[in-house]
């Protein structure tokens, strides 16, 4: 061993020491339904949901998982270029998504398929993005659900600016009050944009909820590569409340989000919610989690499944009959089949669509490129080569 390589080894050892005083990242959280399906009351979060509401959430959870499973299969069959699975995060998304009022605005990442479902977006439009047919084909204004943002954390600033617009429109307080929810993950909390969004939201007291799904992994990097303190505690440093919720508990996610949205609508400013959950699948279909995490970790989280606990609760308390569960399962099959068929038969856009919607009106330079390319394509048609 040379002197140089010895020095490098020592340096590497020093750098790889764990951070001192690492607190327990699991810790306490708001929970209203245990993994075993036991209802727990929380003094700050009384629940206003009927049995029908909870059955509806169960249906949501099952259907979005079915859509997700279908999409993964379609990617494996070559029908999608890639897919970002929400497996394991269904409760965080359905709970927070069902807490939204129709007037509230959502700024998602690229994994918010469950929230999109709650906003009435046809899942086929989500698949269109991952198939490469569009960059996001739904109407963000109609659904009050912005387009998926792929650069990590960028949308948190858009959400904050939108919330500042709500303030300027006088839509804080009163019956017409609105709020914004910004979704992001644990990795995103390291992004400058997310931290800038916290600063802006705080100093302008913007009506926004920052909903962080801490799924423990930013592709291959575990949470300790992002933070030495529990993420929700960061909010305090920015000057607004932060809390942690069991992200696999759909009832708790609903309750904490509803309360935070209401506070925002009433002019009390931002709240940071850390939904403590787990990404059960790969980051995307291109990823291989066996390279960086242990199967035993997955086993622990399987026992905290977001769907099973709702099923157990509904069944045991007699709020749902076996026919209900069978009906939901049948519907999940139908939805999967419909999505699969729609994806496989989805046409590609015409080639000249490349040139559309770059500007409000096409520039002369763009117009020329379009005409030249159209003529080039036509030349093949005339030669009979296509």
């Amino acid at each position: 061993m040379t002197v140089e390589s010895g020095a490098a080894t020592t340096a590497a050892l020093t750098l790889n020491q764990p951070a001192p005083d690492m607190p327990d990242q699991a810790g306490e959280f708001v929970q209203l339904l245990t993994p075993e399906g036991e209802r727990i009351d929380h003094p700050d979060y009384p629940l206003d949901l009927s049995a029908a509401d909870i059955r509806g959430m169960y249906r949501d959870l099952v259907l979005v998982r079915a859509i997700d499973t279908t999409a993964i299969s379609l990617q494996r069959q070559g029908e999608l270029g890639i897919w970002a699975s929400l497996l394991g995060q269904e409760a965080a998304q359905i709970g927070s998504g069902r807490a939204l009022g129709p007037q509230d605005m959502v700024f998602p990442t690229y994994r918010e398929h469950g929230v999109a479902w709650c906003r009435g977006i046809d899942p086929v439009k989500l698949l269109a993005l991952y198939r490469g047919v569009s960059h996001g084909g739904w109407d963000p204004k109609e659904h009050k659900f912005h387009l998926y943002t792929i650069v990590i954390g960028s949308q948190t600033l858009h959400a904050t600016g939108y919330a500042m617009g709500i303030q300027r429109d006088g839509a804080v307080g009163g019956d017409e009050a609105e709020a914004v929810i910004a979704y992001f993950g644990d990795g995103a909390t390291s992004q400058g944009d997310v931290n800038e969004a916290f600063v802006w939201a705080s100093v302008f007291n913007a009506p926004i909820v920052f909903f962080c799904q801490n799924n423990q992994w930013a592709i291959s990097e575990p949470l300790e590569k992002q933070s030495r303190i529990p993420l929700y505690q960061r909010a305090r440093g920015f000057g607004f409340p932060g809390l942690r919720v069991d992200g696999n508990d759909v009832l708790a996610c609903y309750a904490v989000t509803q309360k935070a949205l209401q506070a925002a609508r009433e002019g009390q400013g931002p709240t940071f919610i850390e939904a403590f959950t787990y990404r059960m699948g790969a980051h995307t279909t291109t990823d291989d989690p066996t390279r960086y995490r242990l199967a035993s970790e997955l086993e622990v989280w399987k026992h905290k499944d977001p769907i099973e606990r709702v099923r157990a609760y509904l069944a045991r308390t007699g709020q749902a009959e076996p026919e209900f569960f069978a009906g939901v399962d049948a519907e999940a099959k139908q939805v999967g089949a419909r999505v699969r068929e729609a994806c496989r038969t989805m046409p590609d856009p015409p080639p000249l669509a490349i040139f559309d919607h770059v500007y409000a009106e096409p520039t002369s330079i763009l117009q020329t490129e379009r005409e030249q390319f159209a003529a080039y394509l036509d030349s093949f048609e005339q030669e009979g080569a296509r």
Binding site: S134, H158, Y162, H357, Y359, A360
Partner: protein, 327 residues
């Protein structure tokens, strides 16, 4: 007509925009009480309030990112980036978000955001305060990129940019802020030249000199000096850097047969390269000489005691003009 400095003309244009449309907002660092470090927004917060003229936290990505959100809500934000070299922290928001949102949404979303950037050198500043990053933004589809060169254009173009439903990167030649010009502030901008059009700043017959922003004045001075040598230079102020007004550019080059492009930004992979390629393609049979470029060197911006060597001045521009007659 009123005589105004370029910065006062911008101020008057911003004031008009704020008056004419309640959705127009101004946001940036120090734009409120201070009126901006160059005083371009002087007095606007006093008259239009803190909700419309917003002193933001000190983070450029935050300024542009929240402006995007405000635009999605129906507002027309005008962001000030304090100096050219400070725009890069906002590059992700400008290039990946602002420029692409219309395309991403298949035309369902418009982001009418104007980003004002004082640009260029010549004021003896420290590093990062003298740059010309226009080519980066001209290379980004979805953005309009413009540069004003005189007070009258400053007044009209800032209003046209704010009215545009496309995002506009608006370059202001900082060393020309104090240059005076005649501005028609009484009339609206309806009669003004459209934002995407170049203008002939000085007619000539022998060679076309294409320029924009801070070098418009330098090129006009060069043309006047060349008259003494019996050489007639036509100066075209491009005004719009993306899209380029190729009709106006080619009309001038076909007339003169010679073309020089002058900008402060480095020549290498700069706007001049795109212009030279297009002029060569479209005016090949009328050209008497290759298109020549004069501009900054392929170096970072130097310490300010050297900037007079770095920036194209009258002599370097006329040297390039002379060289086009050597073919």
């Amino acid at each position: 007509m009123t005589t105004l400095t370029l910065s006062k003309a911008l101020n008057a244009g911003l004031r008009k925009a704020l008056e004419n449309d309640p959705k127009v907002l101004i946001m940036g660092e120090d734009v409120g009480k201070l009126g901006g470090v160059f005083r371009v927004t002087d007095g606007l917060q006093k008259d239009f309030g803190e909700a419309r003229v917003i002193d933001t936290p000190l983070a450029e990505s935050g300024i542009v990112g929240t402006a995007i959100g405000l635009a999605l809500r129906g507002y027309r934000p005008v962001c000030e980036i304090q100096f050219d070299g400070f725009v890069y922290p906002a590059a992700n928001q400008i290039i990946s978000q602002l420029a692409k949102m219309r395309y991403r949404s298949r035309g369902q979303l418009s982001l009418p955001v104007t980003i004002r950037i004082p640009c260029g050198g010549g004021i003896g500043a420290v590093e990062h305060h003298s740059e010309s990053p226009e080519a980066i933004f001209a290379h980004t589809a979805g953005l309009r990129v413009v540069a004003c060169g005189d007070a009258a254009d400053a007044f009209a173009m800032i209003q046209q940019s704010i009215s545009s439903d496309d995002p506009v990167i608006f370059f202001e030649p900082k060393r020309r802020y104090w240059d005076k010009g005649e501005v028609d502030t009484a009339n609206g901008v309806a009669a003004a030249l459209p934002l995407d059009r170049a203008k002939v700043a000085l007619e000539g017959t022998d060679v076309t000199l294409l320029t924009y922003g801070p070098l418009v004045r330098t090129c006009l001075e060069s043309a006047l000096a060349a008259r003494g040598d019996g050489r007639s230079i036509e100066v075209v102020d491009l005004r719009s850097l993306s899209p380029l007004d190729m009709d106006a550019i080619c009309a001038s080059v076909r007339k003169t047969g010679r073309c020089v492009v002058a900008h402060e930004a480095p020549v290498y992979a700069g706007l001049g390269a795109e212009i030279a390629a297009r002029v060569t393609e479209q005016c090949f049979y009328q050209l008497e000489a290759p298109v020549l470029r004069v501009g900054g060197f392929a170096t970072p911006y130097p310490p300010s005691r050297l900037e007079d060597y770095y920036l194209p001045d009258l002599d370097r521009i006329l040297d390039a003009v002379d060289r086009t007659f050597g073919y």
